[in-house]
C-alpha cells in the first residue's frame, strides 16, 4: 500500500498492518517508536508528516503521532483483525503525563474487551506508577495484572514498603516545617509549606487531603500568580476527583484576577471549564469553551488533557448542539480551532461533511470513531447522547429544505431501512422538531406548515372556553366562602 504523505488519514491508508503482531517484537517498529518519542519529547506539534520512511509500520507510527487519540483505522476496515478495534494504547498514553495517564490507562484496561490491549495498558500503567510514589495505586495495578505479565510485574512488596517509609518521613518533615512557618507568620513560607504538603499528598494519591491543602493556601496568596497557581492545582485535583462544580468555581476565580493572564494559562482555564460543562451535560457551553481555547495550549496541559481531546470534544459537542450559522462561524471559520482539528483529521472531515450535507460519510466517520471514544475517560458517558443528537440534527437538516422527500432515498443517505427511518421520523415529528407528515402508503415525507389563521381562531376559542369555566367556578367559590364567613360572623357573638 502506498504511504500517505500528508497527515491526512484516508480510510484505505493502512492496509497491511497485522494487529496480531505485537509491536515490541518488530525491530522496524522499535525504530519508528524511538523516532516518535523523540518528536514528542521535543514537544513539537506535528501538523503534517514528512515522508522519510517507506516502511509501512513506520508510516503508521508517524501517522499515529498526528492523531494519537484516534484509532487505527485499518484494523477496523475489516482486514481480519482479531477482536476488532485496537487502539494504539502506547501512542494514546504518550500524549499524557502524570496521574491522568495512569487513570486513563486503568480506565482503558477496565473497559476494553480485548485481553492483549488490557495487558498492554496495565503494563504501561505499572511502569508509570513505578516512576511515581503512589504505593496504593501500585498495589491496585499489580493486583489487576495478577501475574499475567510475568515476574517483573508482580507485586514488589519491598518497593512498596520503601516508598511508604519514605512517605512517612517526608510527611513528618513537611508538617514540622509547616508548623515552624506558622509560628514565624511569614505568609509566603506558610503558603509554600501548604503547597508542598498538598503536592506530597497528590503524589501519594491522597487527593482529598491534597485538595484541602491547596485550598488552604488561598488565604496566604499575595500575588495573582499565586492565586492562579492555586486555582490550577485545585482544578487538576477536582477533575481527578470528579467534582466539577469546584472546577467551575475555581476557573471563574482564576479568571477574575486583575492581572492579565498569559495565553497558556488562559487556554488551560478554557479547557478546564469546557471539561466541567461537558461532564454536567451542558454541551453547547462546553463546545464554546473548547472552541475558544487558543493554540498556545500545545502540550502544556498534558497532565490533564491533550490537544487532540480538545479537538474531539469541541468538535462533537459543537456538532451536537450548534445550529448551522454558529457551526460555520465558530468552528469552520475559526482559525485557532483549525490548528486543533488538524490533529484529528477525522473530526475535521466529519464536520465538513455534515455542513456540506454528505450525511452518509459523516455518519460513517462517527461510527469509526465510536469505539475509541467509549474508552475515553471523560467522554464515554456522553458518546451515545452526542451521537443521537448529531443524527437527529442530520435528519432535521436533511428534510428542512424540501417540500417532499422520498423516504427510500433518505434511507439510503442515512444507511438505514425505510421502516427504521419512519420510526425515527415519527419520533422527531411527535417531538415537533420536524414540521411534516408521512405518507406511509407512498413512502413520502411531506412538509406541513400549520395554518396560522385557523390555529389562532382555535386557540382563541379555546381560551374563551377556559376563561368562562374558570370565572364561573370563581364566582361560585367566592359565594361559598362568603356564606361561610357570614356563618362564622353570625356565630361569633
Amino acid at each position: 500500500m502506498g504511504a500517505v504523505s500528508d497527515g491526512r488519514v484516508s480510510l484505505t491508508a493502512r492496509g497491511s498492518k497485522s494487529s496480531a503482531v505485537h509491536r515490541s517484537q518488530h525491530p522496524a517498529i522499535l525504530l519508528g517508536f524511538c523516532e516518535a518519542i523523540l518528536s514528542w519529547n521535543s514537544r513539537s506539534r506535528v501538523k503534517t508528516r514528512v515522508a522519510t520512511m517507506d516502511d509501512d509500520d513506520d508510516d503508521d507510527e508517524a501517522m499515529r503521532s498526528n492523531g494519537g487519540a484516534v484509532d487505527d483505522l485499518s484494523s477496523r476496515a475489516g482486514k481480519g483483525a482479531a477482536g476488532g478495534e485496537l487502539m494504539d494504547v502506547e501512542a494514546y498514553a504518550a500524549l499524557y503525563t502524570g496521574r491522568t495517564k495512569v487513570a486513563r490507562l486503568l480506565f482503558i484496561a477496565g473497559r476494553c474487551g480485548n485481553e492483549a490491549m488490557q495487558l498492554e495498558a496495565l503494563r504501561m500503567a505499572h511502569d508509570e506508577i513505578k516512576k511515581g510514589e503512589d504505593s496504593h495505586l501500585y498495589r491496585e495495578v499489580t493486583a489487576k495484572i495478577g501475574g499475567r505479565l510475568g515476574p517483573r510485574y508482580a507485586l514488589d512488596q519491598s518497593w512498596a514498603d520503601t516508598v511508604d517509609r519514605r512517605a512517612e518521613v517526608r510527611k513528618e518533615k513537611l508538617e514540622n516545617e509547616l508548623t515552624g512557618y506558622k509560628t514565624n507568620l511569614i505568609k509566603e513560607s506558610i503558603r509554600m509549606g501548604f503547597n508542598d504538603l498538598a503536592d506530597y499528598f497528590y503524589d501519594h494519591g491522597q487527593l482529598g487531603d491534597a485538595f484541602k491543602n491547596y485550598v488552604r493556601t488561598r488565604d496566604y496568596c499575595t500575588t495573582s500568580k499565586h492565586i492562579i497557581h492555586m486555582c490550577l492545582s485545585v482544578i487538576l485535583v477536582s477533575i481527578e476527583l470528579g467534582q466539577f462544580t469546584h472546577v467551575s468555581n475555581y476557573v471563574s476565580k482564576a479568571e477574575q484576577t486583575p492581572e492579565q493572564l498569559d495565553l497558556v494559562t488562559h487556554s488551560k482555564l478554557r479547557c478546564a471549564a469546557g471539561l466541567a460543562y461537558l461532564e454536567t451535560k451542558k454541551y453547547k457551553l462546553a463546545a464554546r469553551k473548547f472552541l475558544e481555547t487558543g493554540p498556545e495550549l500545545g502540550n502544556n496541559y498534558t497532565d490533564m488533557i491533550a490537544p487532540q481531546d480538545v479537538a474531539i470534544y469541541g468538535g462533537l459537542c459543537a456538532l451536537a448542539s450548534f445550529d448551522r450559522t454558529e457551526l460555520k462561524n465558530k468552528v469552520l471559520d475559526n482559525i485557532n480551532f483549525r490548528n486543533f482539528l488538524e490533529l484529528v483529521p477525522e473530526v475535521r472531515e466529519l464536520i465538513n461533511d455534515f455542513y456540506a450535507s454528505r450525511y452518509a460519510s459523516c455518519l460513517e466517520y462517527l461510527e469509526n470513531l465510536k469505539p475509541n471514544l467509549l474508552l475515553d475517560i471523560h467522554l464515554h458517558d456522553h458518546v451515545e447522547t452526542l451521537y443521537t443528537e448529531i443524527r437527529h440534527k442530520a435528519i432535521i437538516q436533511y428534510t428542512h429544505p424540501f417540500i417532499s422527500v422520498d423516504l427510500h432515498m433518505m434511507a439510503g443517505a442515512f444507511k438505514t431501512n425505510v421502516a427504521g427511518l419512519e420510526k425515527e421520523l415519527e419520533a422527531l415529528i411527535a417531538d415537533n422538531q420536524i414540521q411534516a407528515r408521512i405518507d406511509s402508503h407512498n413512502k413520502i415525507l411531506y412538509a406541513r406548515h400549520a395554518d396560522q389563521r385557523n390555529a389562532t381562531f382555535q386557540r382563541a376559542l379555546q381560551t374563551g372556553i377556559e376563561f368562562e369555566r374558570d370565572v364561573r367556578a370563581v364566582l361560585v367559590r367566592a359565594n361559598l366562602i362568603k356564606q361561610e364567613s357570614i356563618l362564622k360572623a353570625a356565630k361569633k357573638p
Partner: protein, 424 residues
Amino acid sequence: MAMESVEAVVAHIQGLSGSQEEVAHLHALLKQSEDALRSQAARLGAFLHQLDPSVHTLGYLFLLEAYSSDPVCREQDGDFLLSIVEFINSCSAEQIRLAPEKFISVCKSFKDKVMQLQVPIQGIVPLRTAIRKLQVSSEQLTTLHSDYLLLCLLAKCYKAGLSILDDDIFEVDQPRDLFLYCYYGGMINIGLKSYRKAWECLHNVITAPMTTLNAIAVEAYKKYILVSIILNGQVPLFPKYTSSTAQRNLKSHTQPYIDLANCYATGTFAELEGCIQTNLEKFQSDSNLGLVKQVLSSLYKRNIQRLTQTYLTLSLQDIANAAQLKTPREAEMHVLQMIQDGEIFATINQKDGMVSFHEDPEQYKTCGMIEHIDSSIHRLMALSQKLGSLDEHMSCDPAYLTRIGKERPRFDFDEFDSVPHKFL
C-alpha cells in the same frame, strides 16, 4: 298560649289571605300554631279540601307540611302524591318564599314517597315547577336542585336534568347543597357523554372550600379521575385554590383509581387491562365500572389520534400495530367510529386498506361560526363584568378593609395610605 283548634286556624287562613300585610299577620299566627297543627295531623286531610291552594297558599302550606310530616298519614293516603302535585302546580310563589323551609320539607317528603313507590319519573315535572317557583333568580341554588337531579338520574331522564343544569349557579345558600348538586350534575353529564361539562361539575365539587372531608367529595374525585383520563389522558394536579383538606386526604381514599391513572399513562393496553382486573370489585362496588370500560376504549382513541399528527396516510395494518389492536378489521371499526363522532377527520380507502388523514376542514369563515364567536364574546364580557363588580364589592367590605389595614406595613407619612383610618 291557648291551643287554637284547627278550625280556628283554617278560619284565619281563609280570612287573612288577601293582601300582603294580612299574609304577614297570618304567617305570624301560623307559626304560633305549628305545634297544634302537628298534633292534629291526622285530621288535617279533610280541612285541606276547604282551602284553595292558589289563594291560601301559605296556610295550605303549613297544613300540608304538618300533614306530610306525619308518617302514618303519608302511608295511608293514596292521593298523597296527587294532592302535593296539585299544590305545587297551583301555589303562589311569593307566599311560598315566606316559608321556604316548609316548602322544601313538603317537597322532600314528596320525593321520598316517589322513590319509595319506585316511580321517580312521576316526580320530575312537579319538582321542576317547584324549583322554578322557589328560586328568587335563576342563579340561585336551592336544596331542591339536588333532589331533582337525583330523580332524573334514577329515572334516567338525563335531558330533563339538563334544563336545570344549564342555568349557571352563582348564589348558594347551603354549601352542602352545592356538593350534591354538582355531583349529580356530573353524573348526568356522564350519562349524556358530555364529558367536558361533567369534568367542570366534578371539578367544582373537589375544589369547593371544605374544612372536613366529606364522602361526596371522595366519590366525586373517583369519577373526576376517570373523566379526566377520558378527556385529557391524564389527571391534572390540584389547583392552588383547592382546600388543603382535599389536597391532603382525597388521594388516600382513592388509591385504585390513581393506580389506574398511572397505568394509563404508560400506554400499553395489556397493562391497563391487568390493572382493571385487579381492582374489579372496587370499581364495581363504586358502580364506576361503566366509566372504567370507557377509559379502556379511550386508550385506543388516544393512540389513533396521535397517529393523525404524524401521518398523512397509513395502512390499517400499521394503525392496528400502533394502537395495539389485534386485526386491521378492528382498527377500521375504531377509525370509522371516531370519524362518525367527529373526533378525527379521515377517509378510509378499503381497496388499498389505507386511511388518509385530513386537516380539520373548519375554516372559521361561515356565518354560523361568526355568530358563535360573537355570542361567546358577549357572554364572556357579561361574566367579566360580574367578576369586576364582585371585586369592587369586596374591596368596600368593612371586614376586608379592617383585615388589610391591620396587615399593611408601618408607613412613613409620605406614603399614600390606602386604607382610611376609620377601618382600623
